[in-house]
Symmetry: C2
Subunit: 111 residues, 2 copies
């Protein structure tokens, strides 16, 4: 299981990822997956958990991000680490894009 | 082994990563590590290998990227997947930033 080596933005389809949210699945193998998320203002990723380790990098926009009991506002250049099974959620305050990375691969995103 | 959950750009030190290159170590645990790289024009990451799976996302700039026998030019929004032990290298054509993600963690970057 693995993606192509070179992934050009113009070739990668956007998939609906919930109301006001979409995603591009970029590089992956069994151990890792990189996903680009695009949010419109007001988009909400409800609190949830998954067994994957996650890192998130903010390319653009402004977001209220919750991990466990902490909620903070993050923007361009900021990033996050979400431990396996940690409760987390997001609210988009200003539209933009994030990179989400998971280990292992999110097989549910490939279906 | 893990990073903080919230990582604000202004708080994270830049480390020298070679001539004309520097990096910020962002989120990580044993399984995953997210690193931001900044390149000046002409920076060269010589061909090398490592046993980690890697994904790279181009935030800005333009780069000649080699994986195995293929060399292609990538820019904003493009990305790459590099399998464990695959030979790869980079030349910066226009200055900018990349996100590099590894699984497992690059312990050599934490020294």
């Amino acid at each position: 299981m693995k993606s192509n080596e070179f992934l050009f933005e113009k070739d990668i389809p956007w998939k609906n990822a919930g109301e006001l949210m979409k995603r591009q699945i970029l590089g992956y193998d069994e151990k890792i997956m990189l996903v680009k998320m695009q949010f419109e203002k007001g988009a909400i990723g409800a609190l949830h958990t998954h067994p994957h380790s996650q890192c998130t990098y903010v390319i653009s926009g402004k977001y209220e991000f919750t991990i466990g009991n902490e909620t903070k506002v993050v923007q361009k250049g900021d990033s996050l680490y979400i431990a396996p099974d940690a409760v987390h959620g997001i609210k988009c305050l200003e539209p933009g894009e994030l990179i989400d990375v998971f280990s292992p691969v999110r097989e549910d995103f490939l279906g």
